[in-house]
Point group: none
Chain length 239, copies 2
Protein backbone atom coordinates (compact mmCIF):
# COMPACT_ATOMS: atom_id res chain seq x y z
CA UNK A 1 0.00 0.00 0.00
CA UNK A 2 1.24 3.45 -0.79
CA UNK A 3 1.60 6.21 1.68
CA UNK A 4 -1.08 8.76 0.93
CA UNK A 5 -0.12 12.36 1.37
CA UNK A 6 -2.92 14.86 1.08
CA UNK A 7 -1.79 18.22 -0.20
CA UNK A 8 -2.49 21.16 2.08
CA UNK A 9 -3.68 24.22 0.20
CA UNK A 10 -4.04 27.39 2.23
CA UNK A 11 -5.49 30.51 0.67
CA UNK A 12 -5.00 33.87 2.35
CA UNK A 13 -7.79 36.16 1.25
CA UNK A 14 -10.19 38.88 2.38
CA UNK A 15 -13.94 38.79 1.91
CA UNK A 16 -13.99 42.29 0.41
CA UNK A 17 -11.07 41.77 -2.00
CA UNK A 18 -12.34 41.62 -5.59
CA UNK A 19 -9.28 39.77 -6.93
CA UNK A 20 -9.76 37.20 -4.16
CA UNK A 21 -13.24 36.30 -5.43
CA UNK A 22 -12.01 36.20 -9.03
CA UNK A 23 -9.02 34.14 -7.84
CA UNK A 24 -11.35 31.77 -6.01
CA UNK A 25 -13.08 30.92 -9.29
CA UNK A 26 -9.77 30.52 -11.12
CA UNK A 27 -8.52 28.24 -8.35
CA UNK A 28 -11.74 26.18 -8.56
CA UNK A 29 -11.24 25.72 -12.29
CA UNK A 30 -7.63 24.66 -11.72
CA UNK A 31 -8.67 22.22 -9.00
CA UNK A 32 -11.37 20.70 -11.20
CA UNK A 33 -8.67 19.86 -13.75
CA UNK A 34 -6.19 18.53 -11.17
CA UNK A 35 -5.81 14.75 -11.12
CA UNK A 36 -5.42 14.62 -7.34
CA UNK A 37 -8.27 16.99 -6.51
CA UNK A 38 -9.69 14.33 -4.16
CA UNK A 39 -6.52 14.40 -2.06
CA UNK A 40 -6.27 18.06 -1.16
CA UNK A 41 -7.24 19.93 1.99
CA UNK A 42 -8.24 23.52 1.28
CA UNK A 43 -8.21 26.04 4.15
CA UNK A 44 -9.24 29.66 3.84
CA UNK A 45 -6.90 31.88 5.86
CA UNK A 46 -7.69 35.33 7.17
CA UNK A 47 -6.21 38.52 5.78
CA UNK A 48 -7.80 41.90 6.50
CA UNK A 49 -7.08 44.56 3.87
CA UNK A 50 -8.14 47.24 6.34
CA UNK A 51 -8.10 46.07 9.99
CA UNK A 52 -9.03 49.58 11.14
CA UNK A 53 -12.19 49.82 9.04
CA UNK A 54 -15.43 50.65 10.90
CA UNK A 55 -18.10 47.95 11.06
CA UNK A 56 -19.82 49.59 8.14
CA UNK A 57 -18.13 51.98 5.75
CA UNK A 58 -20.52 54.76 4.77
CA UNK A 59 -20.63 56.69 1.52
CA UNK A 60 -20.50 56.06 -2.19
CA UNK A 61 -18.02 53.27 -3.10
CA UNK A 62 -16.91 55.02 -6.30
CA UNK A 63 -16.26 58.26 -4.44
CA UNK A 64 -14.18 56.41 -1.82
CA UNK A 65 -12.12 54.71 -4.52
CA UNK A 66 -11.51 58.03 -6.28
CA UNK A 67 -10.37 59.59 -3.01
CA UNK A 68 -8.15 56.69 -2.05
CA UNK A 69 -6.19 56.76 -5.30
CA UNK A 70 -6.51 60.48 -5.91
CA UNK A 71 -8.22 59.87 -9.22
CA UNK A 72 -11.20 61.44 -10.88
CA UNK A 73 -14.65 59.99 -10.44
CA UNK A 74 -14.61 58.93 -14.06
CA UNK A 75 -11.29 57.11 -13.60
CA UNK A 76 -12.62 55.34 -10.52
CA UNK A 77 -15.69 54.22 -12.44
CA UNK A 78 -13.48 52.96 -15.24
CA UNK A 79 -11.33 51.01 -12.75
CA UNK A 80 -14.41 49.38 -11.25
CA UNK A 81 -15.65 48.58 -14.73
CA UNK A 82 -12.38 46.77 -15.50
CA UNK A 83 -12.56 44.64 -12.34
CA UNK A 84 -16.24 43.97 -13.04
CA UNK A 85 -15.38 42.86 -16.57
CA UNK A 86 -12.69 40.52 -15.23
CA UNK A 87 -15.19 39.10 -12.75
CA UNK A 88 -17.69 38.59 -15.58
CA UNK A 89 -15.19 36.41 -17.47
CA UNK A 90 -15.36 34.09 -14.44
CA UNK A 91 -19.17 34.22 -14.39
CA UNK A 92 -19.32 36.61 -11.42
CA UNK A 93 -21.91 39.41 -11.58
CA UNK A 94 -20.21 42.16 -9.54
CA UNK A 95 -22.17 45.24 -8.45
CA UNK A 96 -19.43 47.32 -6.89
CA UNK A 97 -21.58 50.45 -7.07
CA UNK A 98 -23.80 49.14 -4.31
CA UNK A 99 -21.12 47.38 -2.24
CA UNK A 100 -21.44 48.00 1.52
CA UNK A 101 -17.95 47.54 2.87
CA UNK A 102 -16.83 47.39 6.48
CA UNK A 103 -14.60 45.61 8.94
CA UNK A 104 -14.12 41.94 8.07
CA UNK A 105 -12.75 40.69 11.39
CA UNK A 106 -16.06 39.11 12.41
CA UNK A 107 -16.54 37.61 8.96
CA UNK A 108 -13.13 35.96 9.32
CA UNK A 109 -14.00 34.67 12.79
CA UNK A 110 -17.13 33.12 11.34
CA UNK A 111 -15.14 31.56 8.49
CA UNK A 112 -12.93 29.89 11.09
CA UNK A 113 -15.99 28.64 12.96
CA UNK A 114 -17.42 27.30 9.70
CA UNK A 115 -14.31 25.18 9.20
CA UNK A 116 -15.07 23.29 12.40
CA UNK A 117 -18.54 22.60 10.96
CA UNK A 118 -17.23 21.51 7.56
CA UNK A 119 -18.79 24.53 5.83
CA UNK A 120 -15.81 26.83 5.39
CA UNK A 121 -15.77 27.00 1.60
CA UNK A 122 -19.55 27.38 1.46
CA UNK A 123 -19.50 30.30 3.90
CA UNK A 124 -16.55 32.00 2.20
CA UNK A 125 -18.42 31.78 -1.10
CA UNK A 126 -21.68 32.99 0.39
CA UNK A 127 -20.06 35.99 2.08
CA UNK A 128 -18.25 37.00 -1.11
CA UNK A 129 -21.40 36.66 -3.19
CA UNK A 130 -23.28 38.66 -0.58
CA UNK A 131 -20.74 41.44 -0.66
CA UNK A 132 -19.84 41.68 -4.34
CA UNK A 133 -23.11 40.68 -5.99
CA UNK A 134 -25.90 41.49 -3.55
CA UNK A 135 -24.70 44.55 -1.66
CA UNK A 136 -24.81 42.84 1.74
CA UNK A 137 -23.23 44.93 4.55
CA UNK A 138 -20.33 42.61 5.33
CA UNK A 139 -19.46 44.07 8.76
CA UNK A 140 -22.92 43.77 10.33
CA UNK A 141 -23.80 40.87 12.60
CA UNK A 142 -27.36 40.38 11.38
CA UNK A 143 -26.14 40.18 7.78
CA UNK A 144 -23.36 37.73 8.69
CA UNK A 145 -25.79 35.60 10.68
CA UNK A 146 -28.31 35.49 7.83
CA UNK A 147 -25.70 34.44 5.26
CA UNK A 148 -24.20 31.85 7.62
CA UNK A 149 -27.60 30.28 8.29
CA UNK A 150 -28.23 30.14 4.53
CA UNK A 151 -25.27 27.76 4.08
CA UNK A 152 -26.60 25.49 6.83
CA UNK A 153 -24.74 26.70 9.91
CA UNK A 154 -26.61 26.53 13.21
CA UNK A 155 -28.13 29.92 14.01
CA UNK A 156 -27.66 29.76 17.78
CA UNK A 157 -24.02 28.72 17.40
CA UNK A 158 -23.40 31.48 14.82
CA UNK A 159 -24.89 34.13 17.11
CA UNK A 160 -22.80 32.84 19.99
CA UNK A 161 -19.64 33.20 17.89
CA UNK A 162 -20.61 36.69 16.75
CA UNK A 163 -21.49 37.86 20.26
CA UNK A 164 -18.17 36.65 21.72
CA UNK A 165 -14.57 36.90 20.63
CA UNK A 166 -14.47 33.25 19.60
CA UNK A 167 -11.89 32.48 16.88
CA UNK A 168 -10.31 35.93 17.23
CA UNK A 169 -6.98 34.23 18.02
CA UNK A 170 -7.28 32.14 14.86
CA UNK A 171 -7.73 35.25 12.73
CA UNK A 172 -4.73 36.90 14.36
CA UNK A 173 -2.60 33.78 13.96
CA UNK A 174 -3.42 33.63 10.25
CA UNK A 175 -2.34 37.25 9.90
CA UNK A 176 0.86 36.63 11.85
CA UNK A 177 1.65 33.64 9.65
CA UNK A 178 1.01 35.73 6.57
CA UNK A 179 3.64 38.19 7.74
CA UNK A 180 6.07 35.37 8.55
CA UNK A 181 5.55 33.93 5.08
CA UNK A 182 6.10 37.32 3.47
CA UNK A 183 2.54 37.63 2.22
CA UNK A 184 1.69 41.29 1.69
CA UNK A 185 -1.16 41.03 -0.78
CA UNK A 186 -4.05 38.68 -1.48
CA UNK A 187 -5.19 36.32 -2.82
CA UNK A 188 -2.15 34.24 -1.96
CA UNK A 189 -2.13 30.48 -2.42
CA UNK A 190 0.27 28.35 -0.34
CA UNK A 191 0.78 24.71 -1.34
CA UNK A 192 2.16 22.34 1.31
CA UNK A 193 3.80 25.33 3.00
CA UNK A 194 6.44 25.13 0.30
CA UNK A 195 5.08 26.82 -2.82
CA UNK A 196 3.41 30.18 -3.15
CA UNK A 197 1.22 31.69 -5.86
CA UNK A 198 0.51 35.40 -5.57
CA UNK A 199 -2.52 37.02 -7.13
CA UNK A 200 -5.54 35.84 -9.11
CA UNK A 201 -3.41 34.16 -11.73
CA UNK A 202 -4.85 32.25 -14.70
CA UNK A 203 -6.27 28.81 -13.93
CA UNK A 204 -3.62 27.10 -16.10
CA UNK A 205 -0.88 28.70 -14.05
CA UNK A 206 -2.50 27.65 -10.76
CA UNK A 207 -2.92 24.12 -12.12
CA UNK A 208 0.78 24.05 -13.03
CA UNK A 209 1.65 25.01 -9.47
CA UNK A 210 -0.58 22.26 -8.06
CA UNK A 211 1.13 19.71 -10.29
CA UNK A 212 4.59 20.95 -9.35
CA UNK A 213 3.81 20.79 -5.63
CA UNK A 214 2.32 17.32 -5.98
CA UNK A 215 5.40 15.99 -7.77
CA UNK A 216 7.70 17.52 -5.15
CA UNK A 217 5.76 15.89 -2.31
CA UNK A 218 5.65 12.50 -4.02
CA UNK A 219 9.20 11.62 -5.00
CA UNK A 220 9.89 8.19 -6.41
CA UNK A 221 9.94 5.52 -3.77
CA UNK A 222 13.35 3.84 -4.12
CA UNK A 223 13.52 0.07 -4.10
CA UNK A 224 16.72 -1.28 -2.55
CA UNK A 225 19.55 0.75 -1.08
CA UNK A 226 21.00 1.95 -4.37
CA UNK A 227 24.45 0.96 -5.58
CA UNK A 228 27.13 3.63 -5.80
CA UNK A 229 29.44 1.11 -7.47
CA UNK A 230 27.35 1.05 -10.63
CA UNK A 231 26.50 4.67 -11.20
CA UNK A 232 27.96 7.67 -12.93
CA UNK A 233 27.65 11.22 -11.68
CA UNK A 234 29.06 14.62 -12.53
CA UNK A 235 32.24 13.44 -10.82
CA UNK A 236 32.54 10.52 -13.19
CA UNK A 237 31.68 6.83 -13.20
CA UNK A 238 32.36 4.29 -10.48
CA UNK A 239 35.25 2.11 -11.68
Amino acid sequence: MRYIHAMDIEIWSDVVCPWCYIGKRRFEHALAAFDHRGEVNVTWRSFQLDPSAPATTEGDPVERLAEKYGMSRAAAEAAQARVTANAATEGLDFHLDRARSGNTFDAHRLIHYAKSAGKQDALKERLMAGYFVEGAAIGEHDVLARLAVEVGLDEAAVLEVLDSDAFADDVRRDELEARQLGITGVPFFVLDRAYGVSGAQPSEMILGALQQAWTAAHPLQMVGAGDTDTTCSDEGCAV
Copy 2:
Protein backbone atom coordinates in the same frame (compact mmCIF):
# COMPACT_ATOMS: atom_id res chain seq x y z
CA MET B 1 13.20 15.75 -3.81
CA ARG B 2 13.10 18.61 -1.39
CA TYR B 3 16.04 20.66 -0.31
CA ILE B 4 16.76 19.81 3.30
CA HIS B 5 18.11 22.57 5.47
CA ALA B 6 19.03 21.63 9.03
CA MET B 7 18.60 24.42 11.56
CA ASP B 8 21.67 25.31 13.60
CA ILE B 9 20.90 25.98 17.25
CA GLU B 10 23.75 27.33 19.40
CA ILE B 11 23.27 27.78 23.12
CA TRP B 12 25.68 29.93 25.08
CA SER B 13 25.63 28.82 28.69
CA ASP B 14 27.76 28.22 31.75
CA VAL B 15 27.83 24.99 33.74
CA VAL B 16 27.31 26.84 37.04
CA CYS B 17 24.44 29.06 35.81
CA PRO B 18 21.15 27.96 37.40
CA TRP B 19 18.95 29.56 34.71
CA CYS B 20 21.03 27.78 32.10
CA TYR B 21 20.05 24.39 33.51
CA ILE B 22 16.40 25.42 33.86
CA GLY B 23 16.57 26.87 30.34
CA LYS B 24 18.05 23.60 29.05
CA ARG B 25 14.94 21.75 30.23
CA ARG B 26 12.61 24.35 28.75
CA PHE B 27 14.48 24.17 25.47
CA GLU B 28 14.19 20.38 25.51
CA HIS B 29 10.42 20.61 25.99
CA ALA B 30 10.17 23.10 23.13
CA LEU B 31 12.27 20.89 20.89
CA ALA B 32 10.12 17.83 21.68
CA ALA B 33 7.08 19.75 20.39
CA PHE B 34 8.86 21.09 17.29
CA ASP B 35 7.80 19.47 14.02
CA HIS B 36 11.32 19.63 12.59
CA ARG B 37 13.18 18.39 15.71
CA GLY B 38 14.85 15.74 13.58
CA GLU B 39 16.44 18.43 11.42
CA VAL B 40 18.28 20.55 13.99
CA ASN B 41 21.93 20.65 15.06
CA VAL B 42 22.40 21.73 18.67
CA THR B 43 25.79 23.05 19.84
CA TRP B 44 26.62 24.09 23.39
CA ARG B 45 28.79 27.21 23.40
CA SER B 46 31.06 28.36 26.23
CA PHE B 47 30.34 31.32 28.45
CA GLN B 48 32.12 31.76 31.78
CA LEU B 49 30.19 33.78 34.32
CA ASP B 50 33.41 34.30 36.31
CA PRO B 51 36.59 33.68 34.28
CA SER B 52 38.72 34.75 37.25
CA ALA B 53 37.24 32.24 39.70
CA PRO B 54 39.70 29.93 41.44
CA ALA B 55 39.55 26.22 40.60
CA THR B 56 37.42 25.68 43.66
CA THR B 57 35.51 28.42 45.42
CA GLU B 58 35.68 27.88 49.17
CA GLY B 59 33.10 28.87 51.75
CA ASP B 60 29.37 28.80 52.26
CA PRO B 61 27.45 29.41 48.99
CA VAL B 62 24.73 31.40 50.76
CA GLU B 63 27.30 33.64 52.45
CA ARG B 64 29.02 34.27 49.10
CA LEU B 65 25.73 35.17 47.43
CA ALA B 66 24.87 37.58 50.28
CA GLU B 67 28.29 39.25 49.95
CA LYS B 68 28.13 39.46 46.16
CA TYR B 69 24.80 41.28 46.10
CA GLY B 70 25.20 43.11 49.43
CA MET B 71 22.11 41.44 50.83
CA SER B 72 21.31 39.83 54.16
CA ARG B 73 21.79 36.13 54.67
CA ALA B 74 18.02 35.72 54.89
CA ALA B 75 17.56 37.51 51.56
CA ALA B 76 20.22 35.33 49.93
CA GLU B 77 18.49 32.21 51.24
CA ALA B 78 15.16 33.46 49.88
CA ALA B 79 16.75 34.13 46.47
CA GLN B 80 18.16 30.60 46.37
CA ALA B 81 14.77 29.21 47.39
CA ARG B 82 13.12 31.01 44.47
CA VAL B 83 15.58 29.60 41.94
CA THR B 84 15.24 26.16 43.53
CA ALA B 85 11.44 26.37 43.24
CA ASN B 86 11.73 27.33 39.56
CA ALA B 87 14.08 24.41 38.97
CA ALA B 88 11.60 22.09 40.69
CA THR B 89 8.88 23.07 38.19
CA GLU B 90 11.18 21.62 35.51
CA GLY B 91 11.80 18.47 37.56
CA LEU B 92 15.27 19.55 38.68
CA ASP B 93 16.21 18.88 42.32
CA PHE B 94 18.63 21.73 43.05
CA HIS B 95 20.75 21.69 46.23
CA LEU B 96 22.39 25.07 46.05
CA ASP B 97 23.35 24.93 49.75
CA ARG B 98 25.95 22.28 49.00
CA ALA B 99 27.09 23.57 45.60
CA ARG B 100 30.88 23.57 45.13
CA SER B 101 31.55 26.26 42.57
CA GLY B 102 34.79 27.06 40.84
CA ASN B 103 36.39 27.98 37.53
CA THR B 104 34.53 26.43 34.58
CA PHE B 105 37.19 26.89 31.89
CA ASP B 106 38.23 23.22 32.00
CA ALA B 107 34.61 22.06 32.07
CA HIS B 108 34.04 24.06 28.87
CA ARG B 109 37.17 22.60 27.26
CA LEU B 110 35.83 19.15 28.02
CA ILE B 111 32.40 20.04 26.58
CA HIS B 112 34.16 20.99 23.34
CA TYR B 113 36.05 17.71 23.34
CA ALA B 114 32.78 15.84 23.96
CA LYS B 115 31.31 17.37 20.79
CA SER B 116 33.99 15.68 18.73
CA ALA B 117 32.95 12.39 20.34
CA GLY B 118 29.19 12.98 19.79
CA LYS B 119 28.57 13.28 23.54
CA GLN B 120 28.31 17.01 24.01
CA ASP B 121 24.73 17.23 25.24
CA ALA B 122 25.23 14.22 27.51
CA LEU B 123 28.30 15.77 29.15
CA LYS B 124 26.72 19.20 29.50
CA GLU B 125 23.76 17.54 31.23
CA ARG B 126 25.98 15.40 33.46
CA LEU B 127 28.13 18.35 34.57
CA MET B 128 25.10 20.48 35.39
CA ALA B 129 23.44 17.67 37.33
CA GLY B 130 26.72 17.07 39.15
CA TYR B 131 27.04 20.71 40.12
CA PHE B 132 23.42 21.66 40.93
CA VAL B 133 22.06 18.40 42.29
CA GLU B 134 24.99 16.43 43.65
CA GLY B 135 27.41 19.04 44.97
CA ALA B 136 30.23 17.98 42.62
CA ALA B 137 33.23 20.37 42.69
CA ILE B 138 32.98 21.58 39.11
CA GLY B 139 36.49 23.02 38.82
CA GLU B 140 38.41 19.92 39.89
CA HIS B 141 39.99 17.61 37.34
CA ASP B 142 39.22 14.35 39.12
CA VAL B 143 35.54 15.32 39.40
CA LEU B 144 35.37 16.36 35.72
CA ALA B 145 37.07 13.16 34.66
CA ARG B 146 34.69 10.98 36.70
CA LEU B 147 31.58 12.68 35.26
CA ALA B 148 32.96 12.56 31.71
CA VAL B 149 33.69 8.84 31.96
CA GLU B 150 30.15 8.29 33.28
CA VAL B 151 28.67 9.53 29.98
CA GLY B 152 30.89 7.17 28.02
CA LEU B 153 33.89 9.32 27.14
CA ASP B 154 37.27 7.61 27.02
CA GLU B 155 39.13 8.12 30.30
CA ALA B 156 42.62 8.37 28.82
CA ALA B 157 41.47 10.89 26.24
CA VAL B 158 39.64 12.92 28.88
CA LEU B 159 42.73 13.03 31.13
CA GLU B 160 44.84 14.07 28.18
CA VAL B 161 42.47 16.96 27.46
CA LEU B 162 42.43 18.03 31.11
CA ASP B 163 46.21 17.84 31.50
CA SER B 164 46.82 19.96 28.38
CA ASP B 165 45.34 23.17 27.05
CA ALA B 166 43.41 21.33 24.36
CA PHE B 167 40.22 23.15 23.20
CA ALA B 168 41.22 26.29 25.11
CA ASP B 169 41.05 28.21 21.82
CA ASP B 170 37.54 26.89 21.20
CA VAL B 171 36.36 28.19 24.58
CA ARG B 172 37.91 31.58 23.90
CA ARG B 173 36.45 31.73 20.41
CA ASP B 174 32.96 31.03 21.79
CA GLU B 175 33.40 33.84 24.26
CA LEU B 176 34.64 36.20 21.56
CA GLU B 177 31.66 35.31 19.38
CA ALA B 178 29.33 35.92 22.30
CA ARG B 179 30.72 39.44 22.61
CA GLN B 180 30.44 39.96 18.86
CA LEU B 181 26.80 38.85 18.95
CA GLY B 182 26.07 41.14 21.87
CA ILE B 183 25.47 38.30 24.30
CA THR B 184 26.05 39.52 27.82
CA GLY B 185 24.01 37.00 29.81
CA VAL B 186 23.17 33.32 29.60
CA PRO B 187 21.43 31.15 28.68
CA PHE B 188 21.29 32.63 25.19
CA PHE B 189 19.87 30.66 22.28
CA VAL B 190 20.92 31.52 18.72
CA LEU B 191 18.93 30.06 15.83
CA ASP B 192 20.60 29.92 12.41
CA ARG B 193 22.79 32.86 13.49
CA ALA B 194 19.71 34.96 12.79
CA TYR B 195 17.41 34.80 15.79
CA GLY B 196 18.27 35.21 19.46
CA VAL B 197 16.39 34.18 22.58
CA SER B 198 17.79 35.53 25.83
CA GLY B 199 17.13 33.82 29.15
CA ALA B 200 15.32 30.71 30.32
CA GLN B 201 12.08 31.70 28.64
CA PRO B 202 8.94 29.54 28.71
CA SER B 203 8.96 26.52 26.42
CA GLU B 204 6.08 27.94 24.36
CA MET B 205 8.11 31.05 23.64
CA ILE B 206 11.18 29.03 22.63
CA LEU B 207 8.97 26.86 20.41
CA GLY B 208 7.58 29.99 18.75
CA ALA B 209 11.13 31.14 18.04
CA LEU B 210 12.04 27.76 16.54
CA GLN B 211 8.99 27.93 14.28
CA GLN B 212 9.76 31.50 13.26
CA ALA B 213 13.36 30.65 12.42
CA TRP B 214 12.26 27.60 10.46
CA THR B 215 9.79 29.60 8.42
CA ALA B 216 12.40 32.25 7.72
CA ALA B 217 14.87 29.64 6.51
CA HIS B 218 12.26 27.92 4.36
CA PRO B 219 10.63 30.70 2.37
CA LEU B 220 7.89 29.77 -0.03
CA GLN B 221 9.12 28.92 -3.47
CA MET B 222 7.13 31.21 -5.71
CA VAL B 223 5.51 29.60 -8.72
CA GLY B 224 5.23 32.06 -11.55
CA ALA B 225 6.32 35.65 -11.35
CA GLY B 226 3.52 36.81 -9.12
CA ASP B 227 1.03 39.19 -10.52
CA THR B 228 0.72 42.58 -8.88
CA ASP B 229 -2.09 43.42 -11.29
CA THR B 230 -4.40 40.90 -9.64
CA THR B 231 -3.79 41.39 -5.94
CA CYS B 232 -5.18 43.52 -3.18
CA SER B 233 -3.06 44.78 -0.29
CA ASP B 234 -3.49 47.23 2.55
CA GLU B 235 -2.68 49.90 -0.01
CA GLY B 236 -5.62 48.88 -2.10
CA CYS B 237 -6.40 46.66 -5.07
CA ALA B 238 -4.77 46.76 -8.44
CA VAL B 239 -7.24 48.60 -10.64
